[in-house]
Assembly symmetry: C2
Amino acid sequence: MAAALDLFEEHGYDNTTVTGIAERAGLAKSTFFRHYADKREVLFDDDTLAALLVEGIGAAPEGATALDALAHAFDRTGRAVFTNDRREFSARRIAVIAAAPELQERDALKERGLIAAMVDALERRGVPDLTARVAAELGALAFRVAYERWGDPAARDDFDQVLRRALVDVRDAGALC
Amino acid sequence: MAAALDLFEEHGYDNTTVTGIAERAGLAKSTFFRHYADKREVLFDDDTLAALLVEGIGAAPEGATALDALAHAFDRTGRAVFTNDRREFSARRIAVIAAAPELQERDALKERGLIAAMVDALERRGVPDLTARVAAELGALAFRVAYERWGDPAARDDFDQVLRRALVDVRDAGALC
DNA sequence: TGCCTCGATGGGACTTGGTCTCATCACCCT
DNA sequence: AGGGTGATGAGACCAAGTCCCATCGAGGCA
């Protein structure tokens, strides 16, 4: 993954071959595809996030609203996954993805997966379907906003704080619609 | 596009080759790629939707809130693009996309594009950034819900009615978060 | 020590998506 | 009749992704 990120930065996604990535990492092309389903996946292989979110939503206090359950899950998840030593990496990753449509595509799909997982977890709490979908969508938006803000080198707060703040901002903005 | 939809239904997306699609349509492979940027794009080549939405948002009455502007745009757009004779086609298209991850990926990216266009149009009306993002996200959700409901063969209403209804539902659900 | 198993890797053949170039063909204009 | 022009066909070519088989190294075991 590190080799891929380097090469994508240096030559662009399109001008980087899987053979090149593997070579740089000291592996064969076939070994690359044994670890990643395809070239895009090399920047998206994290499944732990969804699992943690689902668990956190399930563990939220009984009477919490949908967005409160999300806030609870975010608090438990944020700092665990996005440690401060990954901040610089996140910024580089965001920049590379923003420059390659194929990576944006994968990013959008992964986000859909996250949203679907959140909707599932909310519905298991008894939240009605459409409410769950709206809440998950807003949660995902807050997450994206937080990820961008946190990736800023000038930012100093931990991810969970940034995320909580973003969720409040999104909720407030939603009240103005 | 018709040839592709047929073959995707019959053999699945993965087991359909571009050569096969072109053959069925009486064309050469190179001609296919002259019309569509890639194999996925054959089901997503519609740019008019975004343009109509942007225009509709710009034309909404001055004092309207963000979601009201979206509702206005939806009213002008709905029936123009999604005529009743395309209802069956939409249902087939949805089913094919749901069965192929690569198509879902493209679908997710196109939706992001639509959202970005709506955010732009809203910001040009003076709507603050985060409010615009929330509104566009909710609008996209309403759009997706409406597209699904409208594709149901049992549905009888025109698309713009279904869409308006979906937007109200989403707004109500948002109030419960 | 020698043998065996097993998971991870390397290597290479093969299919398909996608790009590019060149030739051809139909049509239109004068 | 001739010459431009835009759409198409044909095929070479590259890279992504699949598949199969050979190899290697780390234990486990007699």
